[in-house]
């Protein structure tokens, strides 16, 4: 038996090591200036926010939302309209109503307003829709996604319709993305271990049982839906100010599918799982995407393989659903405590293994 105080030191050491590693990696990237890698890291952080937020609702409640990319779109367009410089507005969005046409907000308030727009819409549709269950929420939220798309395409005064919305200032730096992703992960983690989170998980695992001890399932779900939509909207805003030009096509089914696969791979209901899932799926799709223009194996050349990364995602999802439904972590978390304990035990064993032969040598 190891004294608890010893273990706590281990945990602090691990925690410190982890933060140093992250900070070191961040600084190295910042200074190193590898544009491709920086780009990937920013996309990773934004995807991470989308996945953690989706998990915060779908994983914690067991209710599938297929409409989250609609919230991302709301956050993206809302914040982009707010930050677009006034002279560009006159050119690109000539029919924009008066108060919007003459203002250009700084990044932070625009992001927050985008997130709030998404959250308000989520509450408005959540109040009726979340009373349904299972399939029906999935279909209703899919309906919301389609409605969002139709509105984006038709509200040309605000969105330029199907044409590219361009000229968004490139405000999203790695620092912004990292800060928001950290905050999002922190909120999701705290939420999961809060009374609200425990009630959500209880209601997910046994709705009738949870109801019988007084959990108001509908209200809990609505709160989770709102928080989830807020961060999804923020992620949309970050994404808009990273790419600086986009069109409604970006916010549709393939993006929805991508973040669902990321969430499933990590484990529904697991915050640390979302990090692993996002990382794993992004690395593998990025690898497949690099093969898409075609490649050569020895003398054999393989022509363009467009769609390969999506095929990979689809096959991955089917294999997971068949053989490991809970994903990597299920709804458990990777905890420093558990890792520290393992590490300690392992070191303990090594110590005895090293000392044991010495003892034997001294024996005769």
């Amino acid at each position: 038996m190891i004294a608890p105080s010893v273990r706590r030191e281990w945990i602090w050491a691990l925690r410190g090591f982890l933060w140093l590693l992250l900070a070191g990696a961040y600084l190295a990237l910042e200074r190193g200036g590898n544009a491709y890698l920086q780009r990937l890291v920013i996309l990773f952080l934004i995807n991470l926010m989308l996945v953690v937020s989706l998990n915060l609702f779908t994983g914690f409640t067991g209710v599938f939302s297929l409409g989250h990319i609609g919230f991302m779109a709301l956050g993206a367009y809302a914040s982009a309209i707010l930050t677009l410089p006034v002279n560009l507005k006159a050119v690109n969005l000539p029919d924009l109503p008066a108060p919007l046409a003459s203002i250009a907000l700084p990044f932070f308030p625009a992001l927050i307003l985008g997130g709030l727009a998404a959250a308000i819409v989520a509450l408005l549709i959540g109040i009726p829709v979340l009373r349904l269950s299972g399939h029906f929420v999935a279909v209703a939220t899919l309906g919301f996604l389609v409605i969002t798309r139709v509105v984006l395409i038709n509200a040309e005064a605000f969105t330029r319709g199907t044409r590219t919305f361009a000229g968004v200032p490139p405000f999203t730096t790695m620092g912004w993305a990292a800060l928001w992703a950290l905050l999002n992960v922190y909120v999701a983690w705290r939420l999961k271990h809060s009374p609200l989170g425990l009630r959500l998980l209880a209601a997910r695992d046994d709705p009738w049982g949870a109801k019988s001890v007084g959990v108001s399932i509908g209200r809990m779900r609505l709160i989770a839906f709102g928080i989830s939509a807020f961060f999804t909207g923020i992620a949309g805003g970050l994404w808009a100010h990273f790419l600086t030009a986009f069109s409604p096509n970006a916010f549709y089914f393939s993006k929805t599918f991508e973040i669902i696969v990321m969430m499933i791979v990590g484990g529904m209901g697991s915050v640390t799982g979302s990090i692993l899932g996002t990382l794993l799926v992004m690395v593998s799709t990025e690898a497949l995407r690099n093969l898409e223009p075609g490649f050569a194996v020895g003398s054999l050349t393989v022509g363009p393989l467009y769609g390969l990364s999506q095929i990979g995602l689809a096959v991955l999802l089917m294999l997971l659903m068949t053989f490991r439904r809970q994903g990597l972590l299920g709804d458990r978390e990777l905890r420093l405590e558990a890792i520290a304990e393992r590490l300690e035990r392992w070191l303990e064993r090594r110590k005895t293994a090293i000392e044991a032969p010495r003892v034997r040598k001294a024996d005769p």
Binding site: R131, S133, H135, L142, A203, G307, I311
Partner: protein, 302 residues
């Protein structure tokens, strides 16, 4: 174009609604049959339609006469439906609903991207024979596209045949029994597995038939073409009542009528929002009458 509200206008609207509704009914029936036997909202239904269209195009390019192209496309759809059940759905039978739903997403994305890989993402023209594309002028300002007649006739034949099958034959009754109560049906010796395969085969064949009309309407095919029809088929099923064949047929025709009505009556500035209204109505129906117009199924509430 006829004057708004004139008798001719209404006749024209009726023709259009019946033509479109027949397509939706054929698409929705397959979704409903599969939902009935395995509680799966088969999202990949639309990609089966897409694949079936490409099979048709390949046959056409080989110089096969059109009637055989149509048969080949329908048979191909049925075969693909059966294959899909075997590979993607049978291994996860009995799993939570969401697992099946996600697998159907995976199948849809897989098929769509295989099509992109094989045929490129571009739209291709699908040359239809003149008997499917000509437009009659029966008098006045009326337009009667022959495709509407074909769709209506095809739907009546196929759906009528299906109706006879599920009410008059042992296998058809077994399928309805399995949809009503799988456990009891199994206790009475009905082979659920066989019935499920049959539901996929018939449902996909109906989709294969529907896509011929859809393609004749649109004129081109592309790998992403299955997305819109499958959503429309969902809406039709929800309107009529999910999981029943009569519900799907009724829902299909109601959806056709609704779309044509919105198209004809909405002011031109708002007409682009038609689909948003259609899905808004979908959400509304889910809320106030989750069992659809025919009201078989009660949605669980929490």
């Amino acid at each position: 174009m006829q004057a708004l509200g004139s008798p001719e206008f209404w006749v024209q609207q009726l023709i259009n609604a019946l033509g479109l509704g027949s397509q939706y009914a054929l698409m929705a029936v397959g979704l409903a049959m599969v939902f009935g036997v395995m509680r799966l909202i088969n999202f990949a239904h639309g990609t089966v339609m897409m694949a079936s269209a490409y099979i048709g195009l390949l046959l056409l390019q080989q110089g096969v006469p059109f009637p055989f192209v149509a048969l080949g496309a329908i048979a191909g759809a049925a075969a693909l439906g059966v294959l899909m059940e075997r590979i993607a759905y049978r291994p996860v039978r009995g799993a939570p609903d969401v697992v099946l739903l996600l697998n159907s997403f995976a199948v849809a994305v897989l098929l769509e991207n295989v099509a992109i890989l094989l045929f490129s993402p571009r739209s291709r023209p699908f040359p239809m024979p003149a008997i499917l594309t000509q437009v009659f002028h029966p008098g006045g300002n009326l337009f009667l596209p022959s495709i509407h007649l074909w769709a209506l006739g095809g739907a009546l034949l196929a759906l009528g045949g299906l109706g006879l099958f599920v009410t008059r034959t042992r296998l058809g009754l077994a399928m309805r029994a399995a949809a009503e109560n799988p456990t009891a049906a199994q206790l009475l010796g009905i082979e659920i597995g066989k019935v499920t395969v049959l539901a996929f085969a018939i449902g996909s064949a109906m989709a294969g038939l529907a896509v011929l009309f859809w393609t004749a309407h649109v004129g081109t095919i592309n790998p992403g073409m299955g997305f819109e029809p499958v959503l429309k088929a969902f809406v039709a099923c929800v309107i009529g009542g999910f999981g029943t064949i009569p519900g799907a047929v009724l829902g299909g025709y109601l959806l056709g009528a609704l779309e044509i009505a919105l198209q004809g009556l909405l002011p031109s500035g708002v007409v682009g929002y038609r689909d948003a209204l259609v899905y808004g109505i979908l959400i509304l129906i889910l809320l106030v009458r989750p069992g659809g117009v025919l009201g078989y199924l009660e949605a669980e509430r929490v």
